[in-house]
Amino acid sequence: MSALLTTSGLRISIAGHPVCDALDWQVVRGQHWAVLGRNGAGKSTLLHTLAGLRHADQGRILMDGESLDAIPPRDLARIRGILPQRQLDPFASTVLETVLVGRHPHLGRWDWESAEDRRIALAALEETGLKDLAQRDVLTLSGGERQRLAIAQLLAQQPRLMLLDEPLTHLDLNHQVALMDLMRRQAGSGTAVVSVLHDPGFAARYCDHVLLLFGTGTWLAGPTAEVLTATNLSCLYGHTLHELTDAGGQRWFVPA
């Protein structure tokens, strides 16, 4: 199996505060990683660094076998996509137009969106349950609808590595489950997914691997079954957590 993302000796810090130190990590096609950590531990900073939106202090990041810095922006945008925490809409625009923005890295300088791009965009809206809103102005959407629109845009981008920063924000429970199911299908078709999550239960249910960031520069990465334990999570959040197993054998973690 070829690694889509490899970090070696990666050190990242925010204003002198360490996020991770000597991070040696591999994300392989088809894997779904959860990134867990306390508020301010640097989960978003890590995602932004992996996406090439900011620089690391030290170490190397390889994207699809090539050094991240050496990949031209447009090529990079066809390999990895990121779902940011917040969406901005300073100007009015329709839902469909906003999804089509995701096609940018696939279009040449003088190209206009083709019928094929439109088909891909509509399929992405279908996947996120927004097809009926295609002609709505984004400024009239609710927080949850706007979040699903951002996910549709990422789907239209068709990256091989999806970096999701708190994808469940603003979503109702049914949409949270639908989104995680969608990401499971994405991983099943060979996309690698890295999600910053707040609920260890979702990580246990949907993610095959977990990366824990302890906020001091130390980290722990590995298969969910090994890493996601009540002991590790209690240490991570600084609060005792109990592990429960439901009738279906699914593990859940609840604060004491």
Partner: protein, 329 residues
């Protein structure tokens, strides 16, 4: 999002409007010229009065007004993307303030028109370099910092302008006021501005889709493959140059740069591939029509065209704003 075919149709219609507005400008005035005189006058060039009036007076003025209107609208559209602020206009970063200080200082010293233009351009360029240098200072080139620096420089220039006006002799005051309000009558050579307008559209269009992304946020643009710092510098340089040339050519004509991009956005949407050339054509046409009214409305008295652009633009803008539906099809 318009299809390429629809975009071309819209631009063709606007080009037609531009042609009509220039034709009207050439015909209107105290010396009668008919539409029938236009072609011969522009073509072979007979030595009739009509030819002389058209070629010597009205054509340079109409072409200059068109070029300046186009440049201002284009600069305004670019600034609104760069600052991601619908209230941005070409003057928001103090470029017209710098130009005004230069031009009025030259007028105060009693220098010839050529020097007024030269000083205006030098002033605009100084303000542009100052804002860019200061905002760029600590390498964090944020919008807020850029906007604040521009607003402060503009305020400083405003104070100097007020100072010059208050100490200027009565005889020069009227010329200064006309310059400040924008006056197409002082255009001597319109062709450089027109050439820049054409070159400017050609330079901006290849980046138009990247500008679409930039208007949706830096992070989004960068994550979708846009080199954000580079394109911001290009946009800043282009918008500043357009503004400096427009202001140097015809004074600081207000309103066009703010309102035309908005009018076009309401009419054709926010796709920069269509919005940029459409704004340029519409801005040019609007300024030509406004200038024609300015010199014919109370002839032989001439009004400053800046007053006309505002008087025409405000009701049209409010009307469109009022009837704009929540979503666009």
């Amino acid at each position: 999002m318009p299809s390429r075919r629809r975009a071309l149709a819209v631009l063709l219609a606007l080009a037609l409007l531009a042609g009509v507005s220039v034709a009207v400008a050439l015909v209107a005035g105290s010396i009668p010229v008919t539409f029938a005189d236009l072609l011969p006058a522009l073509g072979s060039g007979s030595d009739s009065t009509a030819t002389e009036v058209i070629r010597g007076l009205r054509l340079p003025r109409a072409v200059g007004a068109f070029a300046c209107g186009g440049l201002l609208a284009l600069a305004g559209a670019l600034m609104q993307v760069l600052l991601r602020n619908p209230l941005a206009d070409p003057y928001v970063l103090g470029i017209s303030g710098g130009a005004a200080v230069g031009a009025l200082a030259a007028m105060l010293a009693g220098l010839a028109l050529a020097f007024v233009n030269l000083f205006a351009f030098a002033g605009a360029f100084t303000a542009m370099a100052l804002v860019f240098g200061l905002a760029h200072g600590d390498n964090s080139w944020t919008r807020t910092r850029l906007l604040l620096t521009g607003v402060i420089i503009a305020a400083g220039c405003g104070a100097v302008v007020a100072l010059i006006l208050s100490i200027a002799p009565e005889t020069r005051l009227r010329g200064m006021l006309f310059w400040l309000m924008g006056d197409a009558g002082q255009i001597s050579n319109p062709w450089p501005a027109l050439a820049l307008l054409v070159a400017g559209i050609a330079a901006a269009l290849p980046f138009a889709r990247e500008l679409n992304l930039l208007s949706r946020g830096d992070t989004l643009a960068q994550s979708l493959g846009v080199s954000v710092p580079r394109i911001k510098r290009i946009v800043y340089a282009l918008a500043s140059l357009f503004t400096a040339v427009a202001v140097t050519t015809a004074g600081s004509i207000g309103f066009i740069g703010l309102v035309v991009p908005h009018l076009m956005r309401m009419a054709v949407g926010n796709d920069q591939r269509l919005l940029l050339p459409a704004s340029a054509l519409a801005g040019g046409s609007l300024l030509v029509l406004a200038d024609t009214l300015a010199r014919t409305l109370v002839a032989p008295q001439q009004l400053p065209v800046g007053v006309l652009t505002a008087l025409l633009g405000v009701p049209v803008f409010l009307f469109l704003l009022g009837r704009q539906p929540g979503g666009r099809s």
